[in-house]
Amino acid sequence: MLEQIGQLAEPIGAIIGFLLTILVLSYVIGDNFLFRLAMHIFIGVASGYAAVLIIYNVLWYQVIVPVIQILRGGQETGFLTYAIQVIPAVILGLWMLTKASPRLSRYGTPVLAFLTGVGAATVIAGAVLGTIFPQVAGAANVLNRQAAPAELSSVVGWFINGVIVLVGTITTIIYFQFGAKTHEEGLPVQRPAILNYLASIGQGFIVVTLGVLFTGVYLATLTALIDRVRYLWETISPLF
């Protein structure tokens, strides 16, 4: 019985996927009931799946099952170590549930503050050590002669590429410089003319960057469309 159901699961799933794909593609004629129906189904399924995942994968396998395993094995030391690690997290987690009640919400503020503080510290430390310092070092070494290719034909390209990267980095940073001084009374506050000129160049680099990002999004979308069309064809091609 289960095997038969398992054999039917794939064609049933294919049919459901086919229908849902058609519903989503109906957006080509504008917002309509079929598209909204598909969206509601996706949101509901995603929510249910996330809830099951949290209960099954997090609460069960990361909190409860370890305790059961330790109790089965009779490892008192392991249990103590695990309890020291898990019990504070469980207490903080239960404490955080007070945020669900408007009346008790303020009691959960310390937990939220703890999470926010630790999270901010983690993100900032990672950004400084993982992005800012390495990227600054990379921009500084872009025209490092020791990193230049040995072939002469490649050196020109390396140099031009390095100059573009250097100019683009500097002018983009200048574009986001908004400090200015007042020179005369009554005149509007303006940046120095040289900075305005360089900022306009940086604006051009920003436009190109946004264009590239949009291109990447478009290519990803086009690939998704091709994948759906292929899926539809693979679903209905056995019928012909």
Binding site: V28, I29, G30, A46, Y49, A50, L53, I54, N57, V58, Y61, Q62, V65, P66, Q69, Q85, L115, V118, G119, T122, V123, G126, A127, L129, G130, T131, P134, Q135, A137, G138, N141, V142, N144, A147, T209, V212, L213, T215, G216, V217, Y218, L219, A220, L222, T223, A224, L225, I226, D227, R228, V229, R230, Y231, W233
Partner: protein, 643 residues
């Protein structure tokens, strides 16, 4: 002709006048018609004197008393009040005259409750003065003509007689008519027959008995109430004294059932006002409460009083409250307005449906045209399974070759951490590269540790590993552990980097994979031979680089990425930086096809051809749209210039 006596000045006026010709007081309403010569008018004034007084029941008499008092003309009441005031002032300021002593005695007799044994005698006295009054009104008319002087100078005795007249009328049980009304002729006192006198006496007795309680009840009142002292004995300063300082005898006489005259003027003046009154000035006539129409209490402690609240059951009888119609009287115009208001309110409550946009608009037409232009070549390429477009060279795309070399350089059987951090919608774009990367790792017999920082990652990881097989082997690869979802975002990832066994102690199969080889020696992320991240989000890639990159670089472990095309521009700087923070990168479908080409596993399902055609069509649409927009703008600008 009959003259009208002015009620204010007392002077006679012709009957055709409405106002007094002397004082302009209204005559018709309260004027007194002076009796003409002859006995008829006198009879009109005193109709009871010429009537046969019929004995009636006490209840009937009590009921008719109020009616009779109502019939007393106003001028008579006023005259009575004036007389009483004048007599008071005379008693206070001047020594009483002999004639007025008689009046005082008569007034006192009114106040004084007669004893039961004296009732009969008093009745006789009443009869006498009544007879004299009748005689003056009728028989002695010739001797006392009705002249202004006479009317104005009415003696106190006449006043008393007039005051006494209403009880006689009440005793007759017949309401007094207007002075002009036809009255029976009066009978002089000397000519009254015995039976009439006895009837009058009997009627008086009965009338008094109607308001007089039984004798047993009167006795306590008689004992309590002292006899009023004679007025002349009062000291001269007496009027200036406050009322409360006066002896009890000069206070208001007690209410007596036999009191035939309830309207005692001095009792009506408040004591505080009496005290304020100057002694030299002549007090005006005190206000007299018109209680003539009030009923006399016939029972209870207030018996004999007039004008108090009636204890009659009808006054306290519960009655059904009047019913008022709650139906509003509205006109047609008002009803129409109300209906209009109701319609407006009903429309306000009703949600007005949004106007449905027309399907065939210019925007929708263009949208359909672009969709068809894109879909037709793509569908055609998918159906035909086109293989005309050559796959990209791995060397032409940054990171593909390095990615391949990093995996190729891994030892056999080493643990590799793979993060499935992409959404299912991007599986079509990433699956080519992911499937080839996992195949390459399976060929290396690497132990795959699958984690995810997105909720959909564990399911994608499981399905991907189950669908990929190593070359030359159709069996499902079993050397892997799906550890599932890492909660907490950046914090969870940081914990995973520092201590993976504590963050994900068990796999989804409930296996403690950290106690068995090859993961038994893993305590940090740098203990993995390589870390591969499948992601479609640039931020997720940045977090992985920031959190795991330093530890991996420190241990010289590669951090490889398979990303979507939309995340490539932000990951590429990490790959191209010096030193490189990302050691290999495969981005988008083109990177996946190029990577597959290095492994000799290029997909033959027409996707690459469809992708190529789709990009070409998209570029054409952009060009055509740009040119068309420019032309339209120029045309519209020309039109504006012409205008």
């Amino acid at each position: 002709m009959t003259d009208i006596i002015c009620p204010l000045c007392g002077k006679p006026n012709p009957p055709d006048l409405d106002e007094c010709q002397y004082c302009q007081a209204p005559l018709k309403t309260a004027g007194f018609v002076a009796p003409p010569e002859g006995g008829e008018d006198a009879d009109k004034l005193f109709p009871l004197a010429g009537k046969d007084a019929q004995p009636q029941d006490q209840a009937k008499e009590g009921g008719t008393t109020a009616n009779l008092e109502q019939a007393i003309p106003d001028w008579l009441k006023k005259t009575e009040a004036n007389f009483l005031d004048q007599s008071e002032e005379t008693n206070i300021e001047e020594p009483a005259e002999p004639g007025e002593d008689k009046l005082s005695q008569r007034i006192d007799s009114l106040f004084k409750e007669p004893a039961a044994s004296e009732i009969k005698k008093e009745n006789a006295i009443d009869d006498d003065w009544l007879s004299s009054l009748l005689a003056e009104a009728g028989v002695d008319e010739t001797a006392q003509p009705s002249t202004p002087g006479r009317v104005a100078g009415e003696t106190a005795e006449q006043g008393i007689q007039e005051v006494e007249a209403p009880p006689q009328q009440e005793a007759a049980g017949e309401p007094a008519g207007e002075p002009e009304q036809e009255m029976p002729p009066a009978i002089p006192a000397e000519e009254k027959p015995d039976w009439l006198a006895s009837l009058e006496a009997a009627s008086t007795l009965k009338w008094e008995a109607a308001v007089t309680p039984p004798e047993q009840e009167q006795k306590p009142a008689e004992e309590k109430l002292p006899e009023p002292e004679p007025e002349p004995e009062k000291p001269p300063e007496l009027p200036a004294q406050p009322d409360w300082l006066k002896p009890a005898s000069v206070e208001e006489p007690p209410t007596s059932p036999t009191e035939s005259e309830p309207e005692i003027a001095p009792a009506e003046l408040p004591s505080w006002l009496e005290a304020l009154k100057p002694a030299e000035t002549v007090a005006p006539s005190p206000p007299v409460e018109d209680v003539s129409s009030a009923d006399i209490v016939t029972a209870g402690p207030l018996a004999g009083l007039r004008g108090v609240i009636s204890p009659h059951p009808s006054a306290v009888r519960p009655r059904k409250p009047p019913t008022y119609s709650i139906k509003l009287r509205v006109t047609d115009d008002q009803r129409a307005r109300v209906e209009m208001m109701e319609e407006l309110l009903a429309d306000e409550e009703k949600p007005s449906p949004l106007p449905s946009p027309p399907i065939l608009t210019t925007r929708n037409i263009f949208r359909i045209i672009i969709a068809v232009a894109l879909l037709l070549p793509v569908i055609w390429m998918i159906i035909s399974g086109g293989k005309s477009a050559s796959p990209p060279q791995p060397g032409s795309l940054p990171g593909v070759v390095d990615f391949t070399q990093q995996l190729q350089s891994l030892p056999s059987g080493v643990p590799v951490l793979i993060a499935f951090d992409y959404e299912a919608g991007f599986s079509g774009e990433l699956n080519v590269a992911i499937a080839n990367a996992i195949t390459q790792l399976m060929n290396k017999n690497a132990f795959l540790v699958l984690v995810s920082t997105t909720p959909s990652g564990p399911a994608l990881a499981e399905s991907t590993v189950e669908s990929v097989h190593p070359l030359g082997n159709t069996k499902t690869y079993s050397s892997y552990a799906n550890l599932g979802y890492v909660p907490g975002g950046t914090l969870g990832l940081s914990g995973l980097v520092s201590d993976p066994p504590n963050i994900l102690p068990y796999s989804l199969n409930n296996d403690n994979v950290w106690t068995a080889p090859p993961l038994d020696g893993v305590t940090n992320i740098k203990d993995f031979s390589a870390v591969i991240v499948f992601t479609n989000d640039a931020d997720t890639a940045r977090i992985w680089i920031e959190q795991a990159g330093p530890s991996l670089r420190q241990a010289n472990r590669p951090l490889l990425f398979v990303s979507s095309a939309q995340a490539e521009p932000l990951i590429l700087p990490y790959y191209q930086s010096t030193p490189a923070q990302v050691q290999g990168l495969i981005a988008g479908l083109s990177g996946g096809v190029a990577y597959a080409r290095t492994l000799g596993n290029v997909p033959q399902n027409g996707e690459w051809d469809a992708y190529s055609v789709g990009i070409t069509v998209s570029i054409l649409i952009l060009l055509v749209g740009t040119i068309a927009g420019g032309v339209i703008k120029m045309a519209s600008g020309g039109d504006n210039t012409d205008k």
